[in-house]
Structure formats: structure tokens, C-alpha cells
Amino acid sequence: MFKKILIANRGEIAVRAVRACRDLDIWTVALFDASDRDSLHVRLADECVQITSPLGYLDVQQIVELALKTEADAVYPGYGFLAEREDFAAACEAAGIVFIGPPSSVMAAFSNKIDMLEAVAAAGLATPVHSSVSFRPGEEDIYQAEAGDIGYPLVIKSCNGGRGLASRIIYRPEDLQRGVREAAAESQMVFGSDQLYFERMVRHASFLDVQVLGDQHGNLVHLGERDGSIQRNNQKLLTEAPAPGLTAAQRMRLHEMALQVARLFNYVNAGTVEFLMDDAGQFYFTEVKCRIQVEHPVTEMATRRDLVREQIRIAAGERLGFVQEDVRIRGAAMQCRINAEDPWNNFLPSPGFLRRFRLPGGPYVRVDTYAYSGCTVSARYDPMLAKLVVWGETREDCIQRMRRALQDFAIAGIQTNLPLFQRILDDPRFIEGRYDTAFLRRTLFDDQLQTDEGLLQDLAVIAALAYQVRLQSQQPVTPERLLQGWHRSSRQLPG
């Protein structure tokens, strides 16, 4: 087992990794940049080291150097930043440091999305209709032709992308050029490449992820699926496991397909095989995420397995401690991705000082976060503030517990999407488990809350009181200018 792991990430996942290392009695090194000195992951780690490169957490070379300098024997990439960068995995391997994730050779198989889709299709699995070649924003004749072949609505994707970044849904041909330009710019910024391709959009789809784990000794298991259909900007806001809309037969087929894909690529370490399911129940393979995912705690709660721990163990060459039959999905788990943003103001990010941050508690409630009362949410990074995960014996229990936890969660100082989740959890379509990727757009703002008159009255009382407080908090002060000699002498009276 490793002695020391450098955590090449920040925020919530870095905190998560430090904790997993502690559980395994492994020494941790945290990275921080100038604006992150005060972050929780730095405080919790055993060692910390500043990353001075202007690229920050994206500087492959400096991070490898720091790993060597701090004598870390492994690097934990988390998600985002360098997690899916094959060159980073390769650089670590070259430097004799273990990259905690799939080997670079496996990652290379996913580096070109089109090739990957072709390979899976060749194995007999359904994939969305996609363009046969990639293109860059300057190659307009290529992409216009491809778009014509695929038809609208289509999705622009980055060949190197993930996390829904640099992805655009285009409904009309006249929006294509602008969409390509923007997606390419974003892809260049985030992934360092402007190679794009198209997929035909699957309408009324469900977004299903299957968690897989494979060790270096050829053992491969799945840990069930997650439904991440409630999305905004391709970010999964609410994720649950198991997926509510699947029959037992569908579920089995889905898991089987996931294992088939993983085997196809000789997958090692934790990964997610992602599928879309259309309204006819047909599955389409879309991609493999060769890293830990934001939503992994949902699976952890439903299976009672520590995925980050497994990642580390696998990377250290250990065997999986269990076989497929040992994996039992029990009850239901759900995760809300709490973002520092204002759903009622065009989802505008809301960085700033967290005046109050009180976590919900009680049985089967878990919050993964880097935030605490009195910390500042940086405007430089992703607005994800916390992940609220709960478990229940049944889906109903789970929903009720999530409602309660959301009520308990007290955040002041910045805007968050907490109230949005409260609406989602009260929506009858959600409660019945009938929702798809269009759910959020359709339901969010179309209706007023049904609130009883008594509460509204009490709120009116609170508002009036706050108004009074605001008026009275304006206390007189003496401005500096009025203390000057000139002014004092202007007040002197004749005689």
C-alpha cells in the first residue's frame, strides 16, 4: 500500500480523498494555489504545497515535480482538472508515480470519442447517431455536411470532453455556426483542444450511469446504476440510485451492457459507463467516464462501499475484496448538488462570504463539502458548494428524508439552488419517478408555490420587521469632513 498520496485537486473531492487516505492510514499532500490557501482540504491534509504555475491545478509538469519533491508514491486526480488527461497519467507513470485511475493505455482508448463509439458499436451495442469524423471550428464545410447527415436537434460535443462542458444542443441550423464557435472556444479553454463532433439528440431521454470497478487482476464488477436525468447545462443536479423507471429485466440488461463495454476496453479502476434511454426503453451507450464521478456517493450509500478507498486499493495492485454476488443494492439513495448560484436569476453564480453554513444531520444523511461558516466561495472555480446525499429504506423514505435535510440545511451569505431542490422534491412527476432530461426546463418556473395563507402572513410580518430593522440600522455618524477646521470655523457665530 502507498505511504503518501498527493491529491491533485481541490474543493470537495480533495477533502473526500484526504478522508479516504486517513481511513487507510496514508499520508496526504494537498495542493493549493494562491486563492486557495484558506481551503478546507489544505487544512485537513498532512502536508501542503503551493502550486505557483499560472495554469494552477492544470499544470501537469509542475504537479509531477511536486509529487516527486514531496516523495508521494501516488497521485489522486479526483474529477475535473487533470483526471481524464491521458498525458498526465502517462507523465506520472514515467516519473514512477502511480496515477490512481485507469492506466494511460486504457485512457488512450477513450481519448477520441468517435473511435470509442465506433468500437462499441462494432461490439453490437447501440450508440447514438454521431458524426463519423471530428472537425474544428474553421472546417465549416465538413461540419455543415455532418450536421446535414445527422439532422436536428443535434448535440455538439468535444472529442476530449466530459462533464457536459463545451457541449451545446442545437435545434436550428442557423444556430449551428455560433454553437460550434462557442463550444470550440470552451473546449479549448477547458480541455486544451477544439476538436468537436456531433451526436443526434436523444429526446425524452433518461441519463443512466453504471458504476464499475475493475482490478489489475482481471476482476470486474458493477455497483448498480444511477439516474442523473435532472440536469442543467449538462450537469447532474439530482442523482438517484437505483433508477426509478427501470424494470428488473431492463436493469439486468443495462448492467450486462456496462460490463461488456468495460471488458471491451480492459477497464481497470473505478469508472462509469454512461447510457441514454429513450422513451421506448432503448439504451444507447454514450461514453465511459474513466474517473471517480461527482455522483459517486449515491452508489456508496446504496451499496455501502467506499469507492475512493477501492480506487486507491486497486491502484496499489490489490485485488477487489468482493465479487459481483456480494454487491447488494439496498433501499434508495439520492444526491442533490448544491451550487452557489441563483436559480431565480438566470442561474447566475453567487460567490462570496458564507455567513452561515449549518449542515443537516441525522441518520443516513451525508454532506460532502469543502465549505464552512465563515469561508469564502471563490469566484475562480466551479460553483459546486456541497453534495447532500441521503439514503432511505424505500424511495419514499429517501425523498422524505431529503426534504427534511434540505429544510435543515442553513446557508446564508450567498445564493444557492437549495430552494430549487425543494421544488423538485415536491413535484408529483418526480415523486412518481416519471422524469427525463427535459424535466427541469419544463417544471422549474411554471407555477407558484402552493403556500398556505398563514405562512405567507408570517413571511409578511418578517419582511416588515426586516424593513424596520433596515431603516433603523442607519445610525447617524459624523463624517470625517465635518471635523475639519474649516468647517468648525464656519459654525462660529458672530459676536
Partner: protein, 515 residues
Amino acid sequence: MAKSMDEYIQHLRSLRAEAYGSAKDVETQHRKGRLTARERVDMLFDANTFTEIDTLVLPRFETYMGGKSSRHGDGVITGFGLINGRHVFVAAQDATVMGGSLGEMHANKIVKAMKMALTYGCPFIAINDSGGARIQEGVDSLGGYARLFDANCEASGVIPQISVIMGPCAGGAVYSPALTDFVFMTENSYMFITGPDVVKAVMQEEVSQEQLGGGLVHSQESGVSHFLAKDDRECLALVRELLRYIPSNNQNDPPYVPPLDDPDRRCPELEQIVPTDPNKPYEVREVIASIFDDGRFFEVHQLWAENLVVGFARLNGWVVGIVANQPRVLAGTIDIKASIKAAHFIRMCDAFNIPIITLQDVPGFLPGTAQEYGGIIRNGARMIYAYSEATVPKLMLILRKSYGGAYCVMSSKGLRGDLLYAWPNAEIAVMGAAGAVNILFRREVTSAPDPEARRLELVDDYEQKFNNPYVAASRGLIDDVIEPRDSRRVLIAALEVTLLKRERHVAKKHGLSPA
């Protein structure tokens, strides 16, 4: 054997208890819809800050009447406390003790509190609820009134003096409020020199107390009262609010509060509020709400002389006094009442270091025999005197019309206005176009082949040549022409540079303000 300390204390407590009205007296007062003096004082001051003085004063009349004094305090509560955190002295007449009648010691207590307020530079508030002079004390009582008036005059212009009428205030008693800076009345109070009985006897005129001198009458008709309140509670809240705008004395500045409103805020709505047609009325309070902090305006004399609006507001946190013509009433002309209203307000602002901002849209003085007989000349002059005399910053914004004598008297450059602005639609001239053409070109118009066409042509010509802000701007008589939306920004800039103004009068004993 010596008494124990406890016994001494018990004795003191029993004496103090006498200063409080009995439960029955309190109930009588409540039945009239009024609070007792103690309740009023408690309500007026910040919680638990009132300190009473002269609780143990005894009335003089026992010496005359041979009777034993039953009540300590002599029917008035005096003392000091905090209002919005600032020290204020008060004298509250207590109708539950001898009807609140004013005897010699009662007057002495009030005068003593006033002298203290004057010495320590604190505002003074008198709460009036009194049956009048205490007849048993005869001339001693009258002498008390005279000393009270004298103290009022002495303190005038040094500390703010506020009178709050919350019950009867009749006869000579009315002159103390009349000498103070602000008079508040409740609807349930009245003031008159002579009551309905005397009016009936002398003039054979049937009139009720309310009709003769109720709060509404004095707020609407006579202008004696500056503020009218529904009841005691609302009235005292108004007093507290007023004190947020005025300083404790004439050496201090009015309370500045850090503003919530944005100093750079544009006011595009002004373009809709003020019609360019000079004959269309509008509500000038909307203009005030648009320009000043948070739209807040604390109006003085709201119901009297409504053709001119005066009151307090804040501009980027600084207190200012606003004088504004009201085109909605009498087309915004200036009449006798409006002149008096403006003059008093301006002098008060000047005394207490409050900058004056004039919002002008005035067609001129109100014509007619009633005005001339009433002395509009003399009364209009009071306004000139007040503007000229004021050494506080004087800013002006011409919203539309500024004609003739009215131009001169309202904060013009000639009266040492500091920074004066006009909107581009302003009409600054001796008179409106139609009138001017009638005088200047009467013969030319009548002799023209088409008199009406010629007249319109001349009117047009006049408007282009004279009836705009640019003539005044070219002479430097206004300092700039600004877009309406920039009014707030510009006035804040102007106010902040003039705040430290230093100006002195020629030494004199005192001026002779007309009227």
C-alpha cells in the same frame, strides 16, 4: 432614636408616589383618547432612558389657599432622555394633576428644563395638555407664562424647540408653542386665544372647539400647526422622526446617516413625471421621491399652503431642506401663505445648518385683490429676506418655469444661490411668451394683416430667443443645464462641495425681516 435608612427610603418613595396620578385619573385621560404624561414621555424616549428632575417640586398655592399640597411635581413632568440616541429635554404637562394648569412652580420647572437644554445644547420638547393658567395663583401664574415666553425667545435659533399639543392649549398658553420651531397637534387637541364661550358672548358666533382651533383647523387653515397626527402614539412617532433630520443645536450638523441609496442612480422617470407643456400640472412630490434617498420625504406643513412644498429629505445621507413649487395646486404660484411657509422653513434650515435645495417651477406670484390687500408685497419679501439671509448651501434646480419676480426671490444667483441648475426644457424669463408678446408687440400684432398668425410667429420667436435656460446659462446666472436623469448625481456633487461653505454677515445687532 434615629430612623433607619429603610425608613428614609420609604418616605422618599411615598413622596414620589404622589407625583403619579391615581388610577381613576389615568382612566379619565384614557377615556378621552389621550395618554397620560408619563405614558407619553415613555413613548417619546428610547426605552429606559428618561431621567426626571424636579419630581418633588410643590405647588405654591398652599401658601395662598392655606390648603395642604396633595401633589408633588405641580402638574408637569420635566427631565431628559435619549431620542434616537441623542439627548433631549422635555416638559410634559400632566392633565391628571390639577388639570395640568400652569402655576408659578409649574412654569419654573419648564423654564429650568429649557435653560438646561439651552446650556447643554439639546433640543427641547414641550408636551402641552393644560387647562391654562392656575386661577388660584393669579398673577404668579401669568408671570410664569411671561418667563416661559422669554425663555422660548432666548432659545430660539440655538436649540430646536418643538411643541406637541395633545390636549387643550388655550389663552396665553398658545404663545409658547407659537414661539417654537415646530408645532405638532393631534386630532384630539385644540388651541385658541379665546374659547367658544367667549366667542359666543362677544361675537354671537356659534363654534365648537374643533371648528375654532382643532388640530385639523390649525394644520389646514391657520398654519399654526406643522404636523397633524391621528393620536398621541402617531404624534410622538412623528416627533422622533423629525429629530432624525435636525441637529441638537445651531453649532452641530444635522445627523448624517450612511446612505443605502446609490449616489450615481439615474432618474429616467423624471422625464415622464414633468410634462414639457408648461400648462400641465404634475405632482412635485414625485420629483422629490425620484431624486432623494430612498424616495423618503419628511414633509412639513403638509396640509397648509399646498402650492409650495417644504420638508426634509436626505441626499447621499446628508440632510437637506427642500423648498419646491407645487404645480398641482394654484399652478404653483406663490401667495401669502406660501411665502410665509417658505420663509419660516428657510430660516429654520439656516439656523440649524441644513442646506436648502429649491426645486423651482413657478409661473409667478398669485395676482388679485385678496393677495394685495393681504400684503403679498410684505409677505413675499419675507421669502427674499430668508433666502438672502441664509448662509447654508443654497442649491436650485429649475424643473420648468421660472418667471419674473418669482425667479428673483427663489434662491437666485442674485440672492447668493450657490449652485443653480436647470433642465433643458426650463423657461427662464421675465414672463411667459404670450404675455410678453401682448405687451411688447401689441401694436404690431393688431396692425398685422393676420393678427393671430403674426402673434403666433412672435410668440415662437420669443420662446426661441428668451424662453429657455440658455440665456441665463450664458450670463452665468445658472451654473449648468443638465439632463433630468442626472439630477440626483449633479445635486449630490453640488451638495458635497458646498457643504463646508463659510459665509459671514455684516455685523449687526439683528436684521429687520419684513412683517
